[in-house]
């Protein structure tokens, strides 16, 4: 039996029937990593202290297998894990060994989770392709000449390639959902405040949220049960009761109202993706849902508002990487301004990659004197309009359906020299971050080239259960989630 190809809930069933052990599962997934990761490159680093050598990295460790969910997991390289090097796939954090566990990592350990390693990502989560990593790109398991999406591309690829049973990612503008879509798996961005960000390296603090990347919707609910909940160490964590998300896994959507914004069918949408979404609308109707076209008039402005708000927050958050307290330092070669400022400037010039610099500088620009009102304030006002559009829609609809991304996974290098066209691949995912609402991406078809297509469902704040119910019903009545890449 290929244990690595199973879902977490299937493995838990096997544990109950005493048909396998956590050690056996861990070993099996590890050998899968050893066999494949030189080609997929889903991992930036594997967990440190354990015996098995890996093809491209040093060693691997086992965490306690006591607990309810001893499942091998990949953690995105931006979640602090005690004693482990955590770098956000950036040169500037090389040598940073976290002295503490992020809230989610603690929760995973308490649940018995076995951390396999740290998944590759776009540097500081800046990107939609996982090409902006100091470790080099991750490759899409469905076609190794294509990107896995990003920024949680390593997390998504590890799950799609069965190099992890499930994974954690973070999502600021689509960084869980878009790679889940490109890799044919399920990715959930919870409501802002639902999962503690304590120990997550900040990109844009008003938008960032941690969530699960899984092989099916049931696993998404299970992993949410582990990570969701209030944490006083994150002052934006919301103290609302956490439901048992598995109770939402009901195969019935009779009478559920689904809104489909007409703006989602505009310029830039691949005809094959459009066809898959139209087929999905029909399928949902057949399953008893009430599907109607709606309008979210301000969503076409979401990308522009996002690149103001997110880069402004990023430029401020990334000011802390200065070569003084932790991470990497470049000692200046000669004195230009003064020795300290030269050290800051050279450390940041050599420590950050091109996209990180672009975003830091864009954020600095929109916040700078004379431009604040024209850009930053304007971006925040448009954020209000987008949130209002969504709030209004949820008065009449239970969920909103869109494509997750306008295209399927593009080729490695295709958008490297055109940052703007890369940004537009998040056009459907960004509104949920701006409004703080939950959204999920699940597989809903394949292109003629054999690449996965994903659909996105959004719901009102703290209604992850509605997303899981609709996604589960669709999944139970389709076959897309059972397909695996040929590796």
């Amino acid at each position: 039996m290929k244990l690595h190809s199973l879902t977490a809930h299937q493995i838990i069933d096997l544990y109950r029937e005493k048909k396998t052990s956590p050690q056996e599962v861990f070993k099996d997934v590890l050998s899968r990593i050893n066999a494949l990761d030189s080609r997929v490159h889903a991992y930036a680093r594997l967990y440190r202290d354990a015996p098995t050598s890996c093809c491209h990295k040093t060693a691997v460790g086992v965490v306690s297998t006591q607990g309810n969910y001893p499942i091998p997991i990949a953690i995105k390289d931006n979640m602090c894990t005690q004693g482990e090097e955590i770098t956000c796939s950036s040169r500037i954090l090389k040598g940073f060994y976290s002295p503490y566990d992020a809230h989610v990592v603690k929760k995973i350990k308490q649940s018995g989770g076995m951390i396999l390693g740290f998944a590759n990502m776009d540097e500081f989560a800046f990107g939609s392709s996982t090409e902006n990593s100091c470790y080099g790109p991750t490759y899409n398991p469905w076609d190794l000449s294509r990107v896995p999406g990003g920024s949680s591309g390593g997390s998504a690829a590890s799950v799609a390639a069965d190099e992890a049973i499930w994974a954690l990612g973070s999502d600021t503008g689509g960084s869980i959902r878009q790679p889940a879509c490109f890799c044919g798996i399920v990715g959930l961005k919870p409501t802002y405040g639902r999962v503690s960000r304590y120990g997550l390296v900040a990109f844009a603090s008003s938008l960032d949220q941690i969530g699960p990347l899984t092989k099916d919707v049931t696993d998404s609910a299970l992993l949410m049960n582990i990570i969701a909940g209030y944490d006083e160490r994150d002052s934006t964590s919301v103290n609302e009761p956490v439901p048992d998300y598995t109770k939402a896994l009901v195969n019935d959507i009779h009478g559920i109202k689904v809104g489909v914004p007409q703006e989602a069918f505009g310029q830039g949408l691949d005809p094959q993706v459009r066809k898959a979404i139209e087929a999905t609308m029909n399928q949902l109707k057949k399953l008893g849902a009430n599907v109607k076209k709606i309008s979210l008039p301000h969503t076409p402005y979401a990308v522009a508002a996002y690149y103001i708000v997110a880069t402004a927050e990023a430029s401020s958050n990334l000011a802390r990487f200065d070569g003084v307290r932790y991470g990497w330092r470049q000692s200046p070669t000669d004195v230009r301004k003064n020795a300290l400022i030269d050290m800051y400037e050279e450390t940041r010039a050599k420590g950050f990659g091109d996209e990180a610099k672009r975003r830091i500088m864009l954020g600095t620009y929109v916040l700078s004197s004379g431009y604040y009102d024209a850009y930053y304030l304007r971006g925040q006002k448009v954020r209000t309009l987008i949130k209002q559009d969504l709030d209004n829609a949820f008065k009449d609809y239970d969920v909103i359906l869109t494509p997750t991304a306008p295209t399927t996974a593009f080729k490695i290098g295709e958008k490297t020299f055109d940052p703007l066209s890369m940004y537009l691949s998040d056009i459907y995912t960004i509104p949920a971050n701006l409004a703080g609402i939950p959204a999920i991406s699940i597989p809903c078809g394949f292109s003629a080239q054999g690449m996965p297509i994903g659909m996105q469902l959004m719901a009102k704040a703290f209604d992850e259960e509605m997303l899981l119910r609709v996604a589960f019903t669709y999944e139970q009545n389709t076959e897309w989630h059972t397909k695996k890449p040929n590796l």
């Binding site: 008003s206 003084v324 010039a349």
Partner: protein
């Protein structure tokens, strides 16, 4: 329109040393992106309040009690350079 001089000024504000050979490309990138976000200027936003946070949160206060935190040695162990219990940086004042 963003000029090379603007980009140099922003780089200095952001404390990023910008080599001459990167200047032209970055100026073009930033001009493209700023050109794109300028579409927001079409919207009438006069009476719209800005949103800085999607979830309406009030101040999150906790009791003012000292709790265990990183020791001086632990914190310094991560530093590129440390001396006498402090972070060490290049000479600032002669």
């Amino acid at each position: 329109m963003i000029t090379k001089k603007d980009v140099q000024y922003i780089a200095a504000l952001a404390r990023v040393d910008l080599p001459e050979d990167k200047l032209e490309g970055l100026t073009k990138n930033l001009t493209d992106i700023v050109g794109y976000v300028k579409q927001l200027q079409k919207l009438d936003l006069k009476d719209i309040k800005p949103t800085s946070h999607a979830v309406p949160l009030t101040d999150a206060l906790r009791k003012d009690i000292v709790k265990p935190s990183l020791s001086n040695a632990q914190a310094l162990s991560l530093a590129p350079q440390a001396k006498d219990g402090c972070f060490k940086v290049p000479l600032v004042i002669e």
